[in-house]
């Protein structure tokens, strides 16, 4: 399984908060959700604090090197 992205982690966390908020969970399930939520938060904090931005250059200077004209100039 591919590593969860930050956005996916946030989405899962929000779902957990929502289900806890609803009050419909059994106590055991609440605790399990709670523990998963805390784990997620710690992972996401670590991601935010340790991430290094990846920069890829895909297009350089577009000014094409001109080919020297072989034709005789008018002046």
């Amino acid at each position: 399984m591919a590593e969860q992205t930050f956005a996916e982690g946030i989405a899962e966390l929000e779902a957990i908060v929502h289900s806890l908020e609803s009050g419909n969970l059994e106590l055991e399930d609440s605790l399990t959700s709670y523990e998963r939520g805390v784990t997620l938060i710690k992972e996401l904090q670590t991601k935010l604090e340790t991430a290094q931005q990846k920069v890829t250059t895909l297009l350089g200077d577009v000014d094409p090197a001109p080919v020297e004209g072989e034709e005789e100039l008018m002046v």
């Binding site: 935010l48 931005q53 577009v62 008018m74």
Partner: protein
């Protein structure tokens, strides 16, 4: 008049050449026959007015120095001189400088284009795309030189280093800039980024003209990803700003627009942590209280419940962060919201456990007896005597105290009058 010595053609043209080169001129005319892509060292085109037309030879180094794009139909002012090309006997004007004639006209052209595109609906708010909250791929289009790219990269790295940045370098002013920007937009969009930043630092009205180019405007609109413009400083909006999905005032502001700040996200995470805790916060206290009651009530067969509750309590203690961590959390409105949710979470288990605790107390009066109270039973029926109506004189009763039973006879009964019933009961038993 004596007949002059005939000149050779070459000599004649050289005379003309010298005469023309010695006479600097300043000329205004309309560009025609301009071909932007040439492999020659000069651009060859014509300047014309209603009646006449003249050849122009614009050296590429002069063109690059001026940094003003040329198109057929533009009115320009050129400074330079004519020259003669003897091999063909032709004459051409050699500009040393040129500029767009009448900036007012250019502004009018840009305004006219803006109106045209607005009429087509390209600037409609309903057409504009929403920005993603947490983009994973951010395309940046700007010059590889200059401050703008560094401002953007620095801002993105500081705020949201989780996103991958794809950089597409292009000229952003002068000849070739508009077509370069179009190509960069098309290329960038093919990589499927979550958002595209189109930025450049500030400049003069002419410098920013490529951002008011019609093809650039249409390329922005054609992008599948939302486009954020950040073209610096000029008080006039460029057309790119008007058709972009979001307009920012500078490259840095554009970068700030597309990603949340790291601190903001850490705050949100802390808020979520608090949201997770609050339902258990009250629950933990309730469990503690109920556990105490259960232990005191001599649970026996309910020992399993105590063990279960104890294990939950330990899980809660391990899972819930320390007070110090929790002090960092500050989202008061979320707290309120979740206190409500927490109360709901607590109610049902609480009712169940309270009920069970009450049962235990009924089953086990020993705790009460140990404090000096006694229970009185009918010796024959073993029913609890809780009323003078249940006994009469000389009945045998059993008095149970903490460490055993006393067997005795009822002497007499007396109804309580002013005294409370509790007191009268006690009097009877004594």
């Amino acid at each position: 008049m004596a007949e002059a010595v005939a000149l050779t053609v070459s000599a004649a043209l050289h005379l003309a050449k010298d005469a023309l080169r010695a006479r600097p001129l300043h000329i205004v005319g309309e560009v025609t026959g301009f071909k932007p892509h040439t492999t020659y060292r000069a651009y060859y085109f014509q300047l014309k007015d209603e009646d006449s037309v003249m050849e122009v030879t614009l050296w590429k180094n002069v063109f690059a120095e001026m940094g003003v794009e040329l198109k057929d139909g533009m009115i320009i002012e050129v400074s330079g001189h004519f020259d003669v090309y003897p091999a063909k006997g032709s004459m051409s004007f050699i500009p040393r400088h040129y500029k767009v004639a009448g900036e007012g006209d250019l502004r009018a052209q840009v305004a006219a284009l803006a109106n045209k595109l607005r009429d087509e609906g390209l600037m409609d708010a309903t057409r504009k795309k929403e920005l993603p909250w947490l983009p994973e791929r951010i395309a940046v289009i700007t010059s590889p030189n200059g401050a703008a790219i560094h401002d953007v990269l620095r801002t993105l790295a500081r705020r949201y280093p989780l996103a991958d940045v794809l950089f597409f370098g292009t000229l952003v002013e002068g000849h070739g800039a508009a077509s370069g920007i179009v190509r960069a937009l098309q290329t960038a969009d093919r990589y499927g980024p979550d958002v595209i930043l189109l930025v450049r630092g500030g400049g003069s009205f002419e410098d920013l003209l490529p951002f008011s180019d019609e093809e650039v405007a249409r390329a922005i609109v054609a992008c599948g990803a939302p486009v954020v413009s950040g073209v610096g400083h000029e008080p006039d909006y460029s057309i790119a700003d008007m058709v972009a999905d979001v307009r920012a005032s500078t490259p840095t502001a554009a970068a700030e627009t597309v990603v949340p700040a790291r601190d903001e996200l850490l705050g949100i995470l802390a808020g979520h942590l608090q949201q997770l805790i609050i339902p258990f916060d009250q629950y933990n206290l309730r469990v503690d209280a109920l556990q105490q009651r259960l232990e005191q009530a001599l649970p026996g067969k309910l020992e399993a419940d105590v063990v279960r509750i104890e294990s939950m309590r330990m899980r809660l203690e391990q899972a819930i962060p320390t007070r110090l961590e929790r002090d960092e959390m500050t989202l008061a409105n979320l707290r309120l919201r979740f206190i409500t949710a927490g109360a709901r979470l607590v109610t049902e288990p609480q009712i169940a456990l309270t009920h069970r605790g009450a049962q235990l107390e009924a089953l086990s009066p020993l705790k009460v007896l140990s404090r000096g109270y006694a229970a009185v039973f009918d010796s024959k029926t073993h029913r609890v005597i809780d009323s003078i109506q249940k006994v009469k004189a000389h009945d045998q009763v059993t008095v149970q105290v903490a460490d055993g039973s006393i067997f005795t006879l009822v002497e007499r009964t007396e109804e309580a009058e002013m005294a409370t019933r509790d007191n009268s009961d006690k009097n009877q038993k004594e």
